[in-house]
């Protein structure tokens, strides 16, 4: 019921080594690197919302599966750094034209070769308007892409030979290679296009795992994956397979971990957040990953434009005690935000100029609010919209209570019964209150937290924020070929954002997970999903 947007998020898991050591208990043979077993790992998942086609899979339920059965050009390690998998090399001179060579002799599990066409055809399919793929916007940057007419073959994609193809972008984008680990960029075998509906039900991939025969996807129940014997990339599994059980609620999955019916969880229900780390001591994780919770006050709301709006936004931000909410409501499973991105991203900094607006200071907040009242007096209730089917109620209420107590105004949450209704009100701009927003990175780069949200007219700019200075800095950063130089530009963007507060950062998401005594070497990777291939299980 909770829609969790997935993306290529990276996670640095400093404690992973320590966890593996203390995870061993008497009677459980200690795992040794590379030792493989045939035991099947049971883990949590949810019924995929869409057929299992990479360009149409954009939520956690489906992508946990597509990530396991398809191997992309690159993969991300636990720290979010990209490494080649299918790709042999990705080269460019100008950050605009990329030459991609893939490894020779790779096969899909049905015996078809993985070649340049496997990628180009899959990407063309994903980008074409007529196919209306949910991930089509990932191909936006490729030359010839259009939302207005159907382009069957992008002129920017050219097959050079069986193992080489080139990608030409409409403008230089230095972080393009970083994106290639995302689900949308996986290859498809030629036979997939004969009947994509049937393929989505029984997909054939080239990844570390493959479906356990026809009909392995038991809808609403589970999907069984076995090791793909032909896969010889860096993610070679050391276990016998994956059984992903679809849970309707987090509570059910946690009860199953307690009852010994599941091995590895990457979610913990609210009720257990306080106790899971002691209950599964040495077998749990609570670590930030590439996601941030914010709320947006659109400047079209009365009292929130111009100078008055800036004062009020700063007052709201300073009136929220992030520390207290993350401690009490989330039991320490969120970390107070210090910027607009996430701490696991390369280039992250806690001390950007202006970041002190995120520090709790009730007196300063009251003062700022009074200054704004001097411009135009406030009346009415400050409301934060949220979807009631996603478990956001408690923190929205807590924020509202703090605003009430610290600013002396009326404040409350404004729940929408369903996610669809909430998102529709935001998309068609009919929402007349502030609303919760959040971002989980598609790929581990600062730009991904800024460009798609705060650029003028950008896809997810739900607050219609526009600042020409921000736009030009974003463009400059993108065309820098040096990553540090690019990040410097992006941090300048954040300095402006701290003044304008187009969204008010609240806290970073953590991955909360736990595992049973029978598994070892559990590490959580990008997008908070466990690195299943390296988990060992005693039999």
């Amino acid at each position: 019921m909770k829609i969790k947007r997935i993306g290529v998020a990276a996670i640095a898991l400093a404690a992973a080594g320590a966890l593996t050591l203390s995870g061993c208990t008497a009677g459980t043979p200690s795992s040794t690197e590379g030792a493989s077993s045939s035991a099947v790992i049971t883990t949590n998942g949810s019924e995929p919302q869409n057929p299992l086609i990479p360009t149409n899979t954009n939520e956690t339920g489906g992508s946990k599966i597509t990530e396991s059965i398809f191997a992309g050009l690159v993969y991300y390690d636990a720290k979010g750094a990209p490494h080649n998998d299918v790709a042999e090399s990705i080269e460019t001179d100008d950050s605009q034209t990329y030459t991609i060579k893939i490894r020779d002799g790779l096969k899909f599990t049905n015996g078809e070769p993985v070649d340049a066409n496997s990628f180009v055809d899959a990407w063309n399919y994903g980008a074409a308007l007529d196919n209306a793929q949910l991930n089509s916007y990932f191909f936006e940057g490729i030359e010839g892409f259009s939302y207005d007419e159907n382009v069957a073959e992008l002129p920017g994609l050219k097959v050079v030979d069986d193992t080489t193809f080139t990608v030409k972008l409409t403008q230089p984008e230095s972080d393009f290679p970083l994106r290639l680990g995302y689900t949308a960029f996986k290859p498809l075998p030629a036979s997939a296009f004969d009947d994509l509906a049937a393929f989505g039900e029984n997909p054939v991939g080239n990844g570390p795992y493959m479906l356990d025969g026809e009909g392995a996807w038991k809808h609403n129940e589970k999907i069984d994956l076995v090791v793909n014997p032909d896969y010889d990339g860096p993610l070679k599994p050391v276990n016998g397979g994956l059984s992903i059980v679809f849970y309707a609620t987090q509570e059910a999955s946690y009860a199953d971990l307690q009852g010994g019916n599941v091995d590895v969880l990457d979610q913990i229900p609210t009720g257990a957040l306080a106790s899971y780390e002691s209950e599964f001591e040495g077998r749990s994780v609570n670590q930030a990953f590439a996601g941030i919770q914010t709320f947006t006050v659109p400047s079209r709301l009365p009292h929130f434009s111009d100078e008055e709006g800036k004062l009020r936004l700063a007052a709201l931000s300073k009136a929220i005690n992030r520390e207290e909410i993350t401690d009490v409501i989330f039991e320490g499973t969120r970390s107070p935000a210090h910027d607009f991105t996430a701490p696991v991203i390369d280039g992250y900094s806690e001390d950007i100029k202006g970041a002190d607006v995120l520090e709790f200071d009730a007196d300063a907040a009251k003062d700022l609010w009074a200054q704004a009242d001097a411009i135009s007096p406030w009346s009415g209730t400050f409301q934060i919209g949220y979807n009631a089917d996603g478990g956001h109620g408690p923190w929205v209420d807590a924020v509202a209570n703090q605003l009430k107590n610290n600013l002396g105004i009326d404040a409350s949450g404004a729940p929408y019964p369903t996610f669809a209704e909430f998102r529709t009100a935001i998309t068609d701009r009919t929402i007349q209150t502030a609303f919760r927003t959040g971002w989980q990175a598609d790929y581990p780069a600062l730009y991904n937290f800024l460009g798609p949200i705060y650029g003028t007219g950008a896809g997810s700019n739900d607050g219609d924020y526009s600042n020409p200075e921000v736009d030009s800095l974003l463009d400059e950063g993108l065309s820098e070929t040096d990553l540090d130089a690019a990040n410097e530009k992006f941090q300048q963007v954040q300095e402006i954002l701290f003044e304008d507060l187009p969204a008010i950062p609240l806290w970073y998401y953590n991955v909360n997970g736990a595992w049973s005594e029978s598994v070892d070497n559990v590490e959580y990777g990008w997008n908070s999903v466990p690195l299943y291939y390296q988990i060992t299980k005693s039999e």
Binding site: E324, I329, D389, P394, N401, N405
Partner: protein, 319 residues
């Protein structure tokens, strides 16, 4: 009045004066008195029972709390909620402690009474009225009336109440939400009552006293109202008194699913639903509003029990 029927001297056999015989009871029909009335009889019976007065007093108390919460607590229920007090125990001026959000539990229970009681009563009345009208007409008249009314009930009953709640809550979101949520719960619950009553009427309408009334030329509708309905109403009373509780709890379940009242509206159901996550670490936050709910429901069930007993002439005759 002095007797005027003295024994005559020539009288052969002694005949007791009519006043001295039990026959006087038969002859002296009070023609000016009110006819015996089931409801009045019930009232005479009911007011002799302590159970009636206890439950009535409790219900009265709950109603007073609902109407004038200010008499019972000075603490505003929704202001000054401090996370520092989260799930805290009793403290000075806060006899029952605090919720997860750090709000005063006692005050929230007092202020939530009106919402919860309203939901309970509106739903119960809705269910009882619709259920009695549809059920009695369908059962008593039978034929096409039964067909139409019963199938209508089937349609309503087949609609998943969550769907109904989502739709009704969204479409009417700008109106008074207590009424809306009561409508959402009640409009799909009445077919149960209707079917039970219909079944009971099917049974009762063949009883001898109904045939007697028909033979005496009493109109059909009057028979239904005066004879059949009172004799079939017992299960309806049982169901409706319990449905009062079910309605209040259903509101909590809807909150749990995210389609209930907004959390800014105080209600027991909302508080129970919100406390569910900390069920194991702070059970009192959930149990306290549940107790308020139980006591309210208990008093209504007791009252229903007394009334049901009083309405049942056979049960009364036994005592």
């Amino acid at each position: 009045m002095p007797s005027n029927t003295n024994t005559r001297p020539d009288q052969q056999h002694y005949v007791a004066p009519i006043e001295e015989t039990p026959l006087v009871a038969i002859d002296s029909v009070k023609t000016d008195g009110k006819p015996s009335n089931l409801w009045i009889d019930a009232w005479h019976d009911v007011r002799k029972r302590p159970m009636f007065w206890i439950s009535s007093a409790l219900i009265l108390l709950v109603i007073v709390v609902a109407l004038a919460p200010g008499l019972f607590t000075q603490v505003p229920p929704n202001n000054d909620c401090q996370l520092a007090n989260s799930n805290g125990g009793p403290a000075g001026g806060h006899p029952l402690g605090y919720t997860k959000q750090g709000c005063d539990i006692y005050s929230r229970i007092i202020h939530g009474t009106s919402t919860s009681l309203s939901v309970g009563i509106i739903v119960t009345v809705l269910v009882a009225v619709l259920g009695i009208v549809f059920g009695s007409f369908a059962g008593f008249y039978g034929g096409w009336i039964d067909a139409v009314l019963s199938r209508l009930g089937d349609i309503f009953f087949s609609i998943p109440y969550i769907l109904a709640a989502v739709v009704i809550m969204s479409v009417f979101s700008q109106y008074a939400s207590v009424w809306v949520i009561s409508l959402a719960i009640g409009i799909f619950a009445w077919p149960a009552t209707a079917r039970v009553l219909r079944a009971e009427i099917l049974r009762v309408k063949n009883a001898d006293f109904v045939m007697a009334a028909t033979a005496l030329g009493v109109s059909r509708f009057r028979i239904l109202l005066r004879h059949v309905l009172p004799n079939s109403i017992a299960p309806v009373i049982v169901i409706t008194t319990i449905s009062l509780a079910s309605a209040i709890v259903a509101e909590a379940t809807l909150s749990f699913l995210g389609v209930g009242l907004p959390s800014s509206t105080m209600s027991w159901g909302n508080d129970i639903s919100a406390a569910q996550t900390d069920l194991r670490s702070a059970p009192q936050v959930l149990i306290l509003p549940s107790i308020a709910l139980s006591v309210t429901v208990l008093s209504f069930i007791m009252l229903g029990e007394v009334i049901r007993d009083a309405l049942d002439p056979k049960a009364r005759a036994e005592r």
